[in-house]
C-alpha cells in the first residue's frame, strides 16, 4: 500500500463573526484515496474544500502536496484541479475559443482529450457559452477539468444540475481517469447513494466538525443493519443497537461491532447504506452532546 500523504490538515478553523464554519478539522488524505465529504448544508464541506484550494484563509496547518495553499496557490494549481458548485465560464466565448484559451494558460490541459469528452455530449464547439443550458455549462466545466492531468481533484457538488445519464457517465469517466492516473480525489455531494460505490473513504461532517471518518472497507465490517422478525424484536434490542429507526412501520436496528451470525438469528441483516449510517451517527452524537 502506498501511503504518501497528499493532503494534511491539522486543526483547521474558520470563523465568520461569532460562529465557526470550520472548528478544528483534522484530515489526512493519502495518494490514491477517493474520499467523500458527507454532511448537511452548513457542515463546512465547501469551506474546507476551498481552503484546500487556497481560496480561503484559515487557521491551522494545511499542506497539499507538500505546499501551503495559502502561500503557494500558483504552484499548487498546476497539480490540483477543482470543480465548485458556483461554476462560472465567460459567456461571450465560444466553446472552441475557451478550449484554445485553456490550452494556452494551463500547462497540463489536454485539448484532444477535452474534445473527445465533449463529443459524448450535445455541446458543439462553435456554440457560444451563453446559449448553453445550465446543465450543459456544468458538463462543459467538468470536461475542461477532466482534461487536465492533475494529481489531486477537488470536487464540490460536481453533479449538481446534471441529469441521471450524464451523472453516471461522469462517474465512469472519473473512475477511468483515476485508474489511469493514480489520482487522489476529494469529493463532496448530497447525493451520497451515487458515490457510495466510488469512495474508498468517508468523512462525516456537521457544524464545522468531523463526526466520523473511516474507510468504506472498515465501515462495511463494523456496521450492520438488522430488520428483526417482530417476535425477536426485544431479543435484538438487548444486543444494544447503536441506533434504531422505523422504516414503513418496521424496526431497523443499527449495530456496531456485533457479529453477523448473532444478528442473523433475529432477522434480515444488511450493511447500512452510507446515507442511513450518516443519519444514525448524527443522531447518536447529538444525544451524546446532551449528556
Amino acid at each position: 500500500m502506498n501511503t504518501e500523504v497528499v493532503i494534511k490538515a491539522n486543526n483547521i478553523s474558520k470563523k465568520y463573526d461569532d460562529s465557526y464554519a470550520l472548528d478544528g478539522i483534522d484530515i489526512e488524505v493519502s495518494k490514491g484515496q477517493i474520499m467523500g465529504l458527507i454532511g448537511p448544508n452548513g457542515a463546512g464541506k465547501s469551506t474546507f474544500l476551498q481552503s484546500v484550494l487556497g481560496l480561503l484563509k484559515t487557521e491551522g496547518n494545511l499542506e497539499v502536496l507538500g505546499l501551503d495553499p495559502r502561500k503557494d496557490r500558483h504552484k499548487l494549481l498546476k497539480e490540483v484541479c477543482s470543480i465548485t458548485d458556483v461554476a462560472v465560464l465567460p459567456k461571450w466565448m465560444t466553446v472552441a475559443q475557451l478550449l484554445r484559451y485553456m490550452e494556452g494558460v494551463h500547462p497540463s490541459f489536454d485539448i484532444n482529450k477535452c474534445i473527445s469528452i465533449l463529443s459524448r455530449t450535445n455541446i458543439k464547439l462553435p456554440s457560444k457559452i451563453k446559449v448553453l443550458s445550465r446543465g450543459m455549462v456544468v458538463q462543459l466545466h467538468l470536461s475542461l477539468v477532466m482534461a487536465i492531468n492533475a494529481k489531486v481533484l477537488i470536487l464540490d457538488e460536481p453533479t449538481l444540475g446534471l441529469d441521471l445519464v450524464y451523472r453516471k457517465d461522469f462517474y465512469s469517466q472519473l473512475i477511468e481517469d483515476y485508474y489511469e492516473g493514480n489520482k487522489t480525489i476529494l469529493i463532496s455531494t448530497h447525493q451520497v447513494e451515487e458515490i457510495e460505490g466510488v469512495l474508498s473513504d468517508a468523512v462525516f461532517m456537521n457544524q464545522g466538525r468531523i463526526v466520523m471518518k473511516d474507510s468504506i472497507e472498515s465501515i462495511n465490517k463494523k456496521y450492520l443493519e438488522l430488520r428483526p422478525d417482530q417476535k425477536y424484536l426485544d431479543d435484538a434490542k438487548s444486543l444494544k443497537p447503536l441506533h434504531q429507526r422505523t422504516e414503513l412501520g418496521r424496526s431497523v436496528l443499527l449495530f456496531e461491532n456485533v457479529e453477523k451470525e448473532k444478528l442473523e438469528a433475529f432477522g434480515e441483516v444488511r450493511p447500512p447504506v452510507i446515507a442511513n449510517l450518516f443519519m444514525a451517527i448524527m443522531e447518536t452524537t447529538k444525544q451524546g452532546d446532551l449528556k
Binding site: 465512469s172 473512475i175 485508474y179 460505490g197
Partner: protein, 114 residues
C-alpha cells in the same frame, strides 16, 4: 450494472462473476472482465473490484496470469456448483422452509407443484 443495498458491493461484484460462470456466459479458460472495465462500467472503486476478484482467486475460481489478466480455472464451474449447493442447503433452504411453515404450506403439497 445496477447495485442493490442488501449486500456490500464487493460481494455483488463477486456474485456477478459467479453468475456469469454458472449461467455458462463464461467458461473455463475465458478471461473475466478486467478490474478497469468492471470499475468503470459499474461505477465502482477499483479497489472494491480487486477485493472481489481476490476472493475468487482464493476460491480457485479464477487465476491470475501475469500480464494477461484473470482467467476462469478448469474446475471453476464444478467448484462453484458445490459452493452454491452448500449455500442453498445451509442458508436459503432453512429460510424457505421457515417461510413455508409460517404460511402453513405442507411440504408434500409443495413437491407436487412442479
Amino acid at each position: 450494472m445496477q447495485w442493490t443495498n442488501d449486500q456490500p458491493i464487493y460481494q455483488q461484484v463477486r456474485d456477478h462473476v459467479v453468475s456469469l460462470i454458472i449461467d455458462n456466459v463464461l467458461k473455463s479458460g475465458d478471461p473475466i472482465p478486467s478490474v478497469r472495465t468492471m470499475a468503470v462500467e459499474g461505477g465502482v472503486n477499483p479497489l472494491t473490484v480487486s477485493k472481489a476478484y481476490q476472493e475468487l482467486v482464493d476460491l480457485n475460481i479464477v487465476e491470475k496470469r501475469r500480464g494477461l489478466g484473470m482467467f476462469i480455472t478448469d474446475g471453476a464451474k464444478k467448484e462453484l456448483l458445490k459452493l452454491e449447493k452448500s449455500k442453498f442447503l445451509h442458508n436459503e433452504w432453512p429460510n424457505t422452509l421457515k417461510r413455508a411453515e409460517s404460511l402453513g404450506i405442507d411440504l408434500r403439497e409443495l413437491l407436487s407443484k412442479k
